[in-house]
């Protein structure tokens, strides 16, 4: 495979698409499929055939505006339709070429305007199970370029220059990590893609895997070439059956086209990928626990160092990156590291995908440039909180993150500024809260999550999260004293400093950040036995007669 052959494939796809007068791209992500998007696609197809219109009805990945689904995009006009149903298929077909049927069109101006799509550039535009459609949108040019024009060290250089940082949440410089694995002792090395996305309210990786699996496969192949690995694993949670099935067919297609296997693109480079399916443990998103799980062991973290870059899977040097990190790689190789570094802030480059949810008008999967303010995301793209409520806080970083209050809404989105605000970038969940949310209850919710997901290996996390949850429950129920609050703060410091892995070390963050900005709510629960948001049920002690 060379660039010329890639162009031939792309031309064939374009010729095929050019045969049609219109196209209806029906979203087949998990959200829309749950509302029978497949039946809607079939109905539109049947209706088009009956009407004698020359329409291409296609299956595409996530169109981003998940809460308004089922969605479809009409070409060539570009209208986005929401709330589709089988009953309205005829209307959609007869409206082609004119204005969309009443009530179905999405108002998208701001939702689209502020976004910059790098990772999601093909999402909703291609059929996720057709590799040729990926190739038509410049897919695999990055891999071919890397294999035929660049040395591995040049590939690492491109990534370093791009300023890309780990999108799983930690923000470790990707180029640095690749360089470490590349420099590790030669011999067997591995590349692992971490798709064990488990934060409540986060569905970025799922969408990427479902909408554009080839992008992740290409990113992994480029990484394998750069670090000298010949074997890769994609670790996906079993709760994502659609992602697993699209990846499985994606791997088959990639092998068929010769992008995986031996002598890829006629070079001596060999690489293949296997899927490993998680068994539902959140802690397996931690890299050492994930590696143990792939090895067939119980998914518990181990102490680092040694880091996986020097001793990872089966003790061999291993590169482990998140789905979104790998998804950023193909365009960097195609367009150069300098191109990528143009977007973002001084230390956080490129874009970030966020799953925007909670008390917000537009629940959506969005991709924004680093450096955008939280206000632009929540009020601009998200459309603000529902009518009649006032915005209170936004939670980022899942159970490891924190709540950022309304007065800090003008901080920019970057790894550093979010940590400074007491939260973190995390993998990209963004939960918006309004005045009907109780911050103590939010902290309790995340603590319960950490408590049930603790692996049980180290004592501070195993026993500490249980005690912290009990204390939070006590506060919520109005049974606590100010001494309990002091004890809670004391436990936070031990669990944060003494836990073995990231799960325990960050488990107190939701408590610490809500205490930092909303301490009055805690005190209100304790001293006045009342929940200001009216969420918690205060248990009043019976007064003896």
């Amino acid at each position: 495979m060379n660039l010329e052959e890639l162009n031939q494939i792309a031309d064939a796809v374009r010729a095929e698409n050019g045969k049609y007068d219109y196209a209806v791209n029906v979203c087949q992500g998990t959200g829309c499929l749950a509302q029978h998007a497949d039946q809607i696609q079939a109905a539109i197809g049947a209706s088009a055939a009956a009407a004698g219109k020359n329409v291409q009805v296609r299956r595409v990945g996530c169109l981003g505006f998940c809460a308004a689904g089922p969605l479809a995009q009409l070409e060539p006009e570009g209208h986005l339709l929401k709330g589709l149903s089988v009953a309205r298929a005829d209307e959609v077909v007869s409206s082609l070429g004119g204005s969309p049927p009443p009530g179905l069109q999405c108002e998208l101006s701001e939702l689209v305007e502020k976004q910059v799509q790098v990772v999601l550039e093909n999402s909703g535009k291609i059929d996720p199970e057709k590799i040729d459609e990926y190739i038509e949108r410049d897919g695999y040019q990055g891999l071919v370029k890397a294999l035929t024009e660049l040395r591995p060290v040049d590939v690492v250089q491109q990534i370093t220059e791009s300023g890309l940082r780990g999108r799983g949440g930690g923000g470790y410089p990707t180029g640095l990590k690749w360089g470490m694995v590349a420099k590790a002792a030669p011999g067997q090395k591995y590349v692992i893609c971490n798709g064990d996305e488990g934060d409540p309210g986060a569905f970025m990786d799922r969408s990427v895997l479902e909408s554009d699996p080839q992008r992740v496969i290409e990113g992994m192949a480029i990484a394998a070439y750069a670090v000298g690995a010949s074997k890769g694993y994609i670790y996906v949670r079993a709760e994502y059956p659609l992602a697993v099935s699209r990846l499985t067919s994606g791997l088959r297609e990639a092998r068929r086209r010769g992008f995986l296997g031996n002598n890829i693109c006629g070079t001596p480079f060999d690489f293949d990928i296997e899927i490993r399916i998680g068994a539902g443990a959140f802690v397996c998103g931690e890299e050492t626990a994930l590696i143990a799980s792939i090895e067939g062991l119980r998914g518990v973290p181990r102490v680092r160092p040694p880091y996986p870059a020097s001793a990872g899977l089966w003790g061999k040097p291993t590169l482990i990156n998140n789905v979104e990190t790998f998804a950023n790689v193909p365009p960097i190789l195609r367009k150069g590291g300098a191109w990528f570094a143009k977007v973002g802030t001084a230390k956080s480059k490129g874009t970030k995908v966020f799953a925007l949810s909670g008390k917000i008008r537009n629940t959506a999967l969005i991709e924004v440039p680093m450096g955008i303010t939280l206000r632009e995301i929540v009020e601009g793209i998200g459309g603000g909180v529902p009518e009649g409520h006032s915005f209170k806080a936004v939670q980022t970083g899942g159970p490891s993150g924190g709540c950022i209050p309304a007065e800090l809404m003008d901080i920019e989105v970057s790894y550093e500024s979010l940590i400074q605000a007491g939260s973190m970038m995390g993998s990209g969940g963004m939960i918006v809260m309004d005045d009907s949310s109780c911050m103590v209850n939010v902290a309790k919710f995340f603590m319960e999550f950490c408590m049930t997901e603790s692996c049980g290996k180290c004592i501070p996390c195993r026993a500490g999260t249980v005690q912290m949850f009990e204390l939070l429950a006590k506060i919520c129920e109005g049974r606590a004293t100010m001494d309990d609050l002091d004890l809670l703060i004391d436990l936070c410091s031990t669990v944060k400093e003494a836990s073995l892995c990231g799960l325990g070390q960050t488990a107190p963050n939701p408590v610490l950040s809500t205490l930092r900005y909303f301490k009055q709510e805690y005190i209100e629960h304790i001293q006045n036995k009342r929940c200001p948001a009216g969420v918690c049920t205060i248990k009043h002690e019976e007064v003896p007669a």
């Binding site: 102490v303 049930t452 997901e453 603790s454 290996k457 004592i459 026993a463 249980v466 410091s493 400093e497």
Partner: protein, 237 residues
């Protein structure tokens, strides 16, 4: 030891000490009479860094590191004792006491228990946290030994000694978080498991979770110190 081994020098609690490069901070500290508390560590078994009692401060690092798995480095400056470390250690001990049903006065290991003696050394005079009082079982199905989950601290010494020294791997851990339990085979009763009856797990158990039937702690002190000797003899073979 090869002649080319590069000896490292470092400072622990203000004391200059020397070490071979493969040694851990814990090993070197103990060689030099500096006691760092541990529960999951045992000489002769691989370290897992799970109990977090041996956390130390290293100059130049903000994160605390477990001494049992931290390798020595040239010029390293280690603080093994400070108000911050003592506070965390005491809290960890309290968390352990509150987690299960540790009542020393009615325990077979009373007077011969590492959890008990550590809590005395660290000055844990009372537990600020509410006891969780979980309902746990006692497995007395084995003809010689008993496993009392009420007193287990999940240090996994039994798991490691069975897998690494005895080579039977009868013990393992099941479950997640507070629901973790040590189990024999696939959670079968101990007496029906593939146990070889060697008793190593009982000897290494730091508390009264695993004990020999009919014997109370002081009558029968445990002897976990046989492990390093056993390892040495094996390597010599």
């Amino acid at each position: 030891m090869s002649a080319a081994t590069e000896i490292k020098t470092l400072i622990i609690d203000g004391k200059d000490v020397s070490a071979r490069p493969e040694q851990t901070v814990l090993e070197v500290a103990r060689e030099n009479g500096i006691e760092i508390p541990t529960l999951c560590h045992l000489d002769g078994l691989t370290d897992v860094g799970a109990c977090r009692l041996c956390l130390i401060e290293i100059k130049g690092q903000t994160k605390l590191q477990p001494a049992c798995v931290t390798r020595v480095e040239e010029g390293m400056e280690v603080q093994s004792d400070s108000e911050r470390l003592r506070k965390h250690r005491r809290t960890i001990i309290e968390l352990l006491f509150a987690e299960r049903n540790h009542i020393c006065s009615v325990c077979v290991a009373n007077g011969n228990c590492e959890l008990q003696s550590l809590s005395q050394e660290l000055g844990v005079t009372h537990v600020r946290l509410p006891y969780r009082n979980p309902e746990l079982t006692v497995d007395a199905s084995h003809e010689r030994f008993t496993c009392d989950h009420n007193r287990c601290i999940l240090c996994t010494r039994c798991v490691r000694v069975c897998a690494e020294i005895e080579g039977a791997h009868v013990w393992d851990v099941m479950g997640r978080g507070a629901g973790c339990r040590v189990i024999t085979d696939l959670a079968q009763p101990w007496g029906e498991s593939s146990c070889t009856r060697c008793g190593k797990c009982v000897q290494v158990c730091p508390t009264g979770a695993l004990y020999e039937k009919g014997k109370v702690g002081i009558e029968r002190p445990k002897h976990p110190e046989f492990l390093p000797y056993l390892n040495l003899m094996r390597e010599a073979q």
